[in-house]
């Protein structure tokens, strides 16, 4: 016998919170209950789209309470953390003393560093030769950051450009133009110097690239986006980033592969001290420097103009 037809429910009106949970569970089990009237949090406006950090369970507590609860918890957390950190430092080995582990790992780096990697600057040797996998991951962190910034801020299509954003153009300022005219050549020269001498003196790909990137940003601020756009347009940005990162990835994969399988790698170390030495470190520094320069400039462009 067909069950009596249930009166069709119009738009289920907002569920009034039934008093006892037991009665609603019983009704739910009898299966004739419209599931919407379960003790679901009160009507949609307040807790329904509750995306905030208040979970529905807390939504019944007056608004000010979570704020106080949060601050109290945060205060306890940070005090405990500070206390433990001070205690840790108190237990750490003495500052500035020769630790006993110096004679295993670091001894090898310093004594044979220059001999194997050819780099006078041992830190560059460690970064690009001994622990090269970290630095490969490093430039991909930067690549990932620039992809995220491009995804977030790029708004070349008309509709996606936010309407109330006013672009302030300070590029016609005479003082700025004279100073940048005097400074930029020095900055580029210094950046290239730091880049090329990565394996001889402190510096290297990341710091050299950042200096060159800063030079590009200065040109863009002083002479407006279109002048610097001619130096690094979107095409140049894409080509440089892709070629440099692919070269880095492939070059290092070659070294890892030959090293792991014991094959002889054709990359010689050259005589330490002059520019063209230290195997792959110089070309890698140049590649990383270009990637970092384009990234710094690209990120600035996204914040400044929201498009290339």
């Amino acid at each position: 016998m067909k069950k009596a037809k249930k009166a069709p429910k119009t738009q289920p009106e907002t569920a009034k919170v039934s008093g006892t949970a037991a009665s609603s569970i019983k009704k739910w089990l009898d299966f004739d209950l419209d599931i919407d009237s379960l003790p679901v949090p009160p009507p949609r406006e307040s807790a329904e789209d509750d995306g905030g950090d208040e979970t529905p369970l807390l939504s019944r507590i007056p608004k000010s309470a979570p704020r106080f609860v949060y601050t109290a918890l945060a205060a306890i957390c940070s005090i405990v953390l500070t206390a433990t950190l001070i205690l840790t430092v108190e237990g750490m080995p003495r500052y500035g003393e020769d630790q006993d582990y110096m004679d295993t790992v670091t001894y090898e780096y310093i004594t044979h560093g220059m001999e194997y990697t050819g780099a006078v600057n041992i830190v560059a040797g460690i970064i690009l030769e001994y622990r090269a996998f970290d630095t490969l991951g490093e430039s991909f962190v930067l690549f990932c950051a620039v992809t995220c910034v491009l995804v977030l801020l790029r708004a070349d299509s008309a509709d996606s450009m936010p309407e109330d954003v006013v672009f302030r153009d300070l590029s016609h300022d005479a003082i700025l133009r004279r100073t940048v005219l005097a400074i930029v050549p020095l900055v580029f020269m210094f950046g290239v110097y730091v880049l090329l001498n990565g394996h001889l003196s402190p510096g290297g790909g990341f710091s050299g690239g950042a200096v060159i990137g800063a030079g590009l940003v200065m040109v863009s601020v002083a002479y407006g986006g279109d002048v610097s756009g001619r130096i690094v347009s979107e095409r140049v940005f894409k080509i440089v980033t892709t070629c440099a990162l692919s070269f880095y990835c492939l070059g290092k994969s070659y070294t890892f592969f030959t090293g792991a399988n014991g094959l002889h790698s054709i990359v010689g170390n050259g005589t330490p001290g002059n520019i063209l030495s230290a195997g792959l470190i110089l070309p890698l520094n140049v590649a990383v420097g270009m990637v970092v320069a384009c990234t710094v400039y690209g990120i600035y462009r996204m914040f400044d103009k929201r498009s290339f």
Partner: protein
């Protein structure tokens, strides 16, 4: 004797530099409007770093290291006023409470705009 003279000069410049930094810090806290705060802190970059660089180079004698130090101090003295100038211009263009902090001399008295 020469050591004393050298120590005296470098100490003198060092005191100037440190005083500039302290006044900048106090200025940054005490002053309320952004332009006046900027005036205080801009002082620190030029006078402070310049004086300390000079005092360090006097104390350490002149060789490549101090030349490099003086060169970087000169670069700082050249560029930091320009950056302060840019920030001030931006604040002037966009800030809307400028009139509250500006006084005009009307006759003998300084009055604020209403």
């Amino acid at each position: 004797m020469a050591a004393w003279v050298r120590f005296g000069f470098s100490a003198f410049f060092a005191v100037i530099g440190v005083f500039a930094f302290i006044s900048a810090a106090v200025g940054a806290f005490r002053l309320d409007y952004v332009l006046s705060r900027m005036h205080a802190t801009a002082l620190a970059d030029t006078v402070g770093i310049g004086a300390i660089a000079v005092s360090a180079s006097i104390a350490a004698g002149v060789d490549f290291v101090t030349l490099k130090l003086l060169f970087s101090a000169a670069a700082m003295v050249l560029t930091s006023p320009v950056s302060t100038h840019m920030l001030a211009e931006l604040e002037y263009r966009t800030g809307d409470e400028l009139y509250k902090h500006v006084k005009f001399k009307v006759g003998k008295k300084w009055e604020r705009l209403k």
